[in-house]
């Protein structure tokens, strides 16, 4: 059955698909390998599909028996028959429908069900692949695009392996058997009737392609219209201030009008599509009426034959139409599958040096961090140049500098959110690139400036990193207390069990930051990184947090990024960064005495504090 996908799709690919390359051969190669990679998902349910195939055969066979019964009944009626025999035919029709219904029910449940199970597998695997990718991949690819592959494309693939397959198989069988039965009634009538049918299939494909092309043009216009609206809605203040509403309305109206015009061209074709099919099929019916009647009158066919022949012809209409429809589904499904594969095949830059099997014995890191003449460029732009520093366990390193000076990049390199050049970032003297990711990240507690909390309870978010059943309640409570979040939580409707995020309680920026701090503290990390992590917390609360943290920090390495002098003044080493370079280094007192950037920052913050009192 799966071979059938390959066969159909291969046939269709060069004409139909709007791939990046239109040259036939390499595409076909790529296509074949794509189809082959879909195979394991299908063969996993081969037992189900086998059962489905049996019911599909039965359903089709039974469906074809009914007109034959009709034929016998009509023939008997013309010849004269007993009422008893009529009752037999009536009962036979009901029996056939009942049996066919049961088979059809099983067929749908089994085959469509299998496609849902395949959908489940595909979604699971896709999600698993996403989890392996690194930060730079998610920065390069928009969330909306990845979402669309996980939803729309996935659905197109499911339609291909489920309904499309089922209809292709059932209509294929139906077609062959119905034609055979028609041939048994009258060879030459069948041949005449079948003449227009290839035309119908070709027409279906042609129409399908034309509609698809024009639909693309409609989509493009929709995107243009959206862009116009997006622009005006995002700039609503300027639009209003300059009284530009009417101009914007005109612009939108023009785009809207063009959209309708493009839709009109699709509607024209669509409007022709079914009527032409009906006309072609109607011509066949006309032939049967004209030639069939003569055949019956000439005695070469019975009245029953005539009735049954008409019934079979009606049955043929669907396979002929379905053929074109199914090829469209296959075409779209394969294109979607290739888009999904592009994501699944993406390899993260950041990954473990050793293969999974050869992992070294788990190392207990002490937490000595060293940056050794570190230079780093992102997208060709130098971000850091020649940064060197050593932090011993129990020490605190502080990073200060204007926005965009490279502070965040520097600390992103330590847990390998991006990969540093070899030999430039070391923990306990070992290049971080040589440490297993799980060991390295397990030793680091990271608190970002704009933390991402998940729609879960407060406790769930704090115990985010805990394995299995979560963390003991005392551990969560003490982390919450350390982050000075305890009084806030006491005021929440359900305390620690309050759901936060979009569907729950909206936390203030400061509260979010403190949840993220508690989340990091709960992991009992060797290295604690605070990336301007208390910027939304007011100065007094920050003071309280730092006091509570002092004991915790004494036992581990900490790296703190902050704009506030009050946060960094106790650090063992302060680096002042500017445009990726270390421009000043020393302790708070040393830097004040030097009278440079740091001293200027200190003066400004004193003034700001004075202003706050005013």
């Amino acid at each position: 059955m799966s071979a059938q996908i390959g066969a159909h799709g291969q046939y269709n690919w060069p004409t139909g698909c709007k791939g990046p390359s239109r040259s036939g051969f390499p595409m076909r190669l790529q296509f074949n390998s794509a189809a082959r990679r879909l195979l394991p998902y299908v063969t996993r349910y081969r037992a189900r599909f086998a059962v489905g195939a049996v019911f599909l055969l039965l359903t089709t066979a039974i469906q074809l028996v009914a007109p034959w019964v009709l034929k016998l009944a009509v023939d008997d009626l013309t010849a004269g028959v007993t009422r008893g025999k009529l009752g037999l035919y009536a009962a036979a029709l009901i029996g056939i429908a009942a049996l066919g219904g049961v088979c059809r029910f099983r067929m749908r449940c089994v085959i469509i069900g299998a496609s849902r199970l395949i959908e489940y597998d595909l979604r699971s695997h896709f999600f698993g692949r996403l989890q392996r990718l690194d930060l730079s991949y998610f920065q390069r690819n928009r969330t909306g695009d990845l979402m669309s592959r996980a939803t729309n494309d996935l659905n197109a693939v499911r339609m291909m392996v489920g309904p499309a397959l089922m209809y292709a198989a059932s209509t294929g069988i139906l077609f062959v058997v119905a034609v055979a039965l028609m041939l048994s009634i009258s060879v030459w009538l069948t041949l005449i009737v079948l003449l227009p049918l290839p035309l119908v299939s070709i027409a279906v494909r042609r129409f399908g392609d034309a509609i698809y092309d024009r639909s693309e043009r409609i989509q493009a216009q929709l995107a243009r219209m959206s862009a116009i609206a997006q622009e005006a809605l995002a700039g609503v203040r300027v639009v209003r201030a300059y009284g530009r509403e009417a101009v914007e309305l005109d612009r939108f109206e023009a785009a809207n009008r063009e959209y309708v015009a493009r839709s009109r061209s699709v509607i024209r074709i669509q409007g022709l599509f079914f009527p032409s099919l009906a006309f072609c099929l109607g011509l066949s019916a006309l032939v049967v009426l004209w030639a069939g009647t003569r055949e019956v009158v000439a005695g070469r066919m019975t009245t029953g034959d005539f009735v049954a022949f008409n019934a079979y012809l009606t049955m043929l209409a669907w396979p002929v139409i379905a053929f074109g429809w199914v090829t469209n589904l296959l075409q779209r499904g394969m294109a979607a599958w290739q888009r999904m594969l592009a994501v699944a095949d993406a390899e993260p830059d950041v990954r473990d040096a050793q293969p999974q099997g050869a992992a070294p014995a788990p190392v207990e890191l002490r937490g000595r961090v060293e940056f050794r003449d570190l230079s780093f460029a992102y997208n060709g732009q130098p971000v850091l140049e020649g940064v060197s520093a050593v932090v011993e366990p129990g020490q605190m390193l502080a990073l200060v500098g204007p926005t965009g000076c490279g502070k965040s990049t520097l600390i992103n390199l330590l847990p390998r959110l991006f990969d540093p050049p070899p030999g430039t970032v070391l923990v306990d003297g070992v290049d971080v690139r040589q440490l297993p990711l799980a060991v390295l990240r397990g030793a680091i507690g990271y608190v970002p400036q704009e933390p991402l909390l998940f729609s879960d309870t407060v406790a769930g978010n704090v115990a985010f990193a805990a394995s299995g059943d979560g963390a003991p309640a005392e551990a969560v409570e003490s982390a919450v207390a350390l982050a000075c979040l305890d009084t806030d939580v006491a005021g929440f409707p359900d305390g620690l069990e309050t759901t936060v995020g979009e569907r729950g309680l909206t936390l203030s920026g400061g509260q979010q930051q403190r949840v993220a701090l508690a989340r990091a503290l709960l992991t009992d990390p060797r290295i604690l990184i605070l990336d301007d992590a208390l910027s939304a917390v007011d100065a007094r609360t920050e003071e309280a947090i730092l006091t509570r943290l002092r004991g915790v920090m004494r036992q581990r390495t900490s790296i703190v990024v902050s704009h506030r002098i009050s946060t960094v003044r106790g650090a063992d080493l302060i680096l002042v960064l500017d445009r990726g370079r270390v421009v000043e280094r020393g302790t708070h007192d040393e830097l004040l005495a030097a009278g440079g950037l740091y001293a200027g920052l200190d003066r400004q913050q004193r003034l700001a504090a004075a202003l706050e009192e005013a």
Binding site: L86, A90, C109, V307
Partner: protein, 593 residues
């Protein structure tokens, strides 16, 4: 909606109300719709004739062996085929176009409404979601008009027509065929109820899966840093499983429904053969009529089994229309009077005991009073969050004051028609907003009729001339969306040129603090100087040079107006302004001395 989620009858009434409101959009297109509906009726009648022709062929020719007159039937069939072709095309085309025109109307209505609705609405609703109303939601309604309404109507016409033909051909056999109708009603009712519930369940799971995907994709680095991959995967897997199960459950209803309808159809055919066959043997029914009955009954059941698909269309359309009407029913509260009072004095602006809070009692401005004399240039200074930008928002009536009033020549701005009010002001915002289009369009953006010479003069006065000339096409050069291809300094100069071309009575300026090179900084300073000289100006100033140009500086602190006066006098007071000056402006003195 959430309240009566489980309340079927209430919801049905609710859906009916939505549907009635939707159908009102058909009214302006009633002529086209009438053509479509006539085409549908005609097409249905022709479809009804086909089995009847077969009956005639059997009764008149096949059974009698008489071939004369067969051509007539064949010709009639050909006419019917051609007629069907034309009518079906007409019906699809007209109905499709009616759908498109309704979508067009709806989009314009929504978009126009978005242009009138309060700016505050945009604070609560992200632009992305508003976009969905204009695009995705409207498209869901298109399905309803283009395929839903039309096919329901066609099916009704067909069903009624078939019933009529059957009764006309033989009323006894017709009653036999109709005997299965109550069964059909029962099965359909059962299916409708369950399919609706399972559709809901599936939609619910999909929403959860999408939310989880969104969260995980945007927070993947957090997941990875905390090595939570396995647990996130398990959580996602739970949703994925739930979705799959809900789908498997819904397959059941569809898998039962189609065969059940077919079985009922078979019962009808069996009954026709049993009774009809008997009457044929008695000679009270012709064989052709019997065959025609069987063919009609097959056509009778097809529309009924198509029902499920239309049901999903209806569901999606209801959900979308609910969201669209929700937006359309939000009235703009700030609408100015259509024919209000126009201030006719020299243009004196007064803030009188103005209080304002974006939310509740959280006041951003407290009891602010000051006045701006015609021609006076006012600078506004204050730390971040002092309420400076809010002053602009209130003056242009993006929001209304909570207490107190703002007046121009003694006329409360709430009594001045909005367009008239805003036409007085030229706004230059920190975040320069450029539209995609040409440079010329961006400069002439607000003005009614600006000649090319005026655009050119404004560009030159704003020192934008030289860089515009370097662009391919000059004034006709294309500006990318949000001006992405221009530098910050160039955008700044363009916004000055826009304000100059607009030539407003009052210039309202939220000065940018962008990092530009020294040469550009000098250009901006000079252009700004030209812009404000001799013009009533209200400027949130970040440049020391701008502040020095001002006749008077208002110093805001924590929502209150604390100090006022010219630059030197304020500095001499050694108060808030002095501290602010040391914080924000002193470095500029050394940098640009």
């Amino acid at each position: 909606m959430a309240a009566n989620l489980h309340d079927e009858p209430l919801e049905a009434a609710y859906d009916a109300r939505l549907l009635r409101r939707l159908l009102r959009y058909l009214v302006p297109h009633r002529r086209t719709a009438a053509v479509a509906f006539s085409a549908i009726v005609g097409h249905a009648l022709l479809q009804l004739a086909e089995p009847y022709l077969i009956k005639l062929a059997i009764d008149r020719h096949i059974l009698t062996g008489e071939l004369a007159g067969l051509e007539l039937i064949a010709a009639a069939l050909l006419v019917i085929l051609t007629g069907s072709f034309l009518l079906e095309y007409l019906e699809t085309y007209t109905m499709g176009m009616v759908g498109q025109r309704i979508m067009y109307d709806l989009r314009m209505e929504i978009y126009a409404h978005l242009q009138r609705i309060d700016v505050a609405y945009y604070d609560r609703h992200p632009v992305g979601r508003l976009m969905t109303r204009v695009t995705t939601d409207v498209d869901a309604l298109n399905d309803l008009f283009a395929s839903g309404v039309i096919s329901v109507f066609r099916d009704i016409v067909l069903l009624v027509g078939i019933m009529g033909v059957l009764l006309w051909m033989d009323w006894r056999l017709a009653l036999v065929a109709f005997s299965v109708l109550p069964l059909i009603a029962l099965v359909t009712q059962w299916f409708r109820r369950n399919a609706r519930a399972s559709y809901r369940a599936v939609r619910g799971w999909i929403a959860q899966i999408n939310a989880s995907l969104q969260e995980n994709i945007s927070g993947m680095s957090t997941v990875q840093l905390f090595r939570r991959e396995a647990r996130s995967f398990a959580a996602f897997d739970r949703l994925n499983r739930g979705h799959t199960q809900a789908n498997l459950d819904s397959i059941f209803y569809y898998a039962v429904f189609y065969p059940a309808i077919e079985l009922i159809g078979a019962v009808a055919v069996a009954a026709i053969i049993w009774y009809g066959g008997g009457w044929t043997l008695e000679g009270t029914l012709t064989l052709g009529t019997l065959v025609a009955f069987i063919q009609y009954s097959q056509r009778f059941f097809r529309p009924i089994s198509d029902l499920s698909e239309k049901f999903n269309i209806l569901q999606a359309a209801m959900a979308s229309s609910e969201r669209i009407f929700g937006l359309l029913d939000t009235p703009p509260r700030l609408a100015g009077p259509a024919a209000g009072r126009l201030p006719d004095g020299p243009g004196r602006i007064t803030f009188e005991h103005v209080w304002f809070a974006y939310r509740g009692e959280d006041y951003v401005l407290r009891d602010v009073s000051f006045s701006v004399e015609p021609g006076e240039r006012i600078g506004i200074a204050g730390a971040t969050g002092a309420g400076k930008t809010t002053l602009i928002n209130l003056l242009l009536r993006f929001y209304d004051v909570s207490r107190g009033r703002i007046a121009i020549d003694g006329v409360d701005i709430r009594e001045i028609p909005l367009d008239h009010l805003r036409r007085r002001f030229g706004l230059v915002l920190q975040d320069v907003f450029l539209f995609s289009g040409t440079i010329r369009e961006n400069i002439a953006c607000g003005a009614d009729a600006v000649s090319d010479a005026e655009v050119r003069a404004a560009a030159d006065a704003a020192h934008a001339g030289p860089f515009i000339d370097r662009l391919p096409g000059g004034l006709d050069a294309a500006v990318a969306e949000r001006g992405a291809t221009l530098s910050a300094g160039q955008k700044q100069l363009l916004s000055f040129a826009r304000a100059l071309a607009f030539d407003p009575r009052v210039l309202v300026l939220d000065e940018a603090t962008s990092n530009v090179d020294t040469a550009t900084e000098m250009l901006i300073r000079d252009a700004l100087h030209r812009l404000i000289s001799g013009r009533t100006t209200l400027a949130i100033a970040h440049r020391l040079s701008t502040l020095r140009d001002m006749d008077r500086i208002l110093v805001f602190h924590k929502g209150e107006l604390r100090e006022a006066g010219p630059h030197r006098a304020l500095l001499a007071r050694r108060g808030i302004y002095h501290t602010l000056y040391q914080l924000q402006y002193r470095d500029q003195e050394t940098a640009l001395a």
